[in-house]
Symmetry: C2
């Protein structure tokens, strides 16, 4: 790994070698980065955040989710498919009704941690500039 660095033109000029090597040693592999990104991507849409939020209070069937969220049944179903594929929600079938709920404790933890971040004093109203003006 350190050999690679030697082949870089700027190696001896302005790279902070120690910092770079420390970083390279600790960095996750591409596969892990991709899967992690997929999980966060599943939470990167307001509609899906609202799905998660709705399910925090307990399981709901698809139709009720659509009502609660004010979305079409189709749109909700597509989003649930994505959340399912990443194991963020689970479902149980009762006749023709399918009830969805949060899958494991990580989902709620991620949600609450995100909430903590945006409510952190230093961050309030900062990212709002994007949609606020």
């Amino acid at each position: 790994m350190a050999e690679n660095l030697n082949s870089l033109k700027c190696m001896d000029t302005h790279i902070h070698r120690e910092a770079v090597e420390r970083s390279l040693a600790a960095m996750v592999d591409g596969w892990t980065a991709t899967r992690l990104a997929q999980v966060f991507a599943a939470l990167s849409d307001p509609s899906r955040i609202r799905v998660i939020s709705a399910l925090l209070a307990g399981e709901l069937c698809v139709h009720d989710l659509a009502v609660v969220l004010g979305m079409s049944q189709s749109a909700v179903s597509h989003q649930l498919r994505l959340l399912r594929s990443l194991n963020l929600v689970r479902y149980r079938k009762e006749g023709r009704v399918v009830y969805y709920s949060l899958d494991d404790e990580h989902v709620e933890q991620l949600f609450r941690l995100g909430l903590e971040h945006i409510r952190h004093p230093q961050n309030i109203g900062k990212e709002s500039s994007k949609t606020d003006g």
Copy 2:
């Protein structure tokens, strides 16, 4: 809020009223959902996950980040801008060199929680089907 439900055609037929009201009462508002989604969106790209991962070992200047990640300086800078706008990274300037580091403890916590999720026995290899086969 309950009045609204009464105006829905399917109200008395197949909606689970209690569950819906419980959900509506607990659900975050649209603004919060949007800001939360923005934070997760900042973590929803493999390149930015790798940026975070690289910074977990300590601060790095932009050039070194580019080297570590194998990305162009411009691409890294664009991504840092996004991460900055959501207060996921902070920077300090020393002459013409800008050092970036993780902003608050939430960032590392979110990262580790995401890692836990994808490493959870039940979830290993499930979302990989998207790119694997």
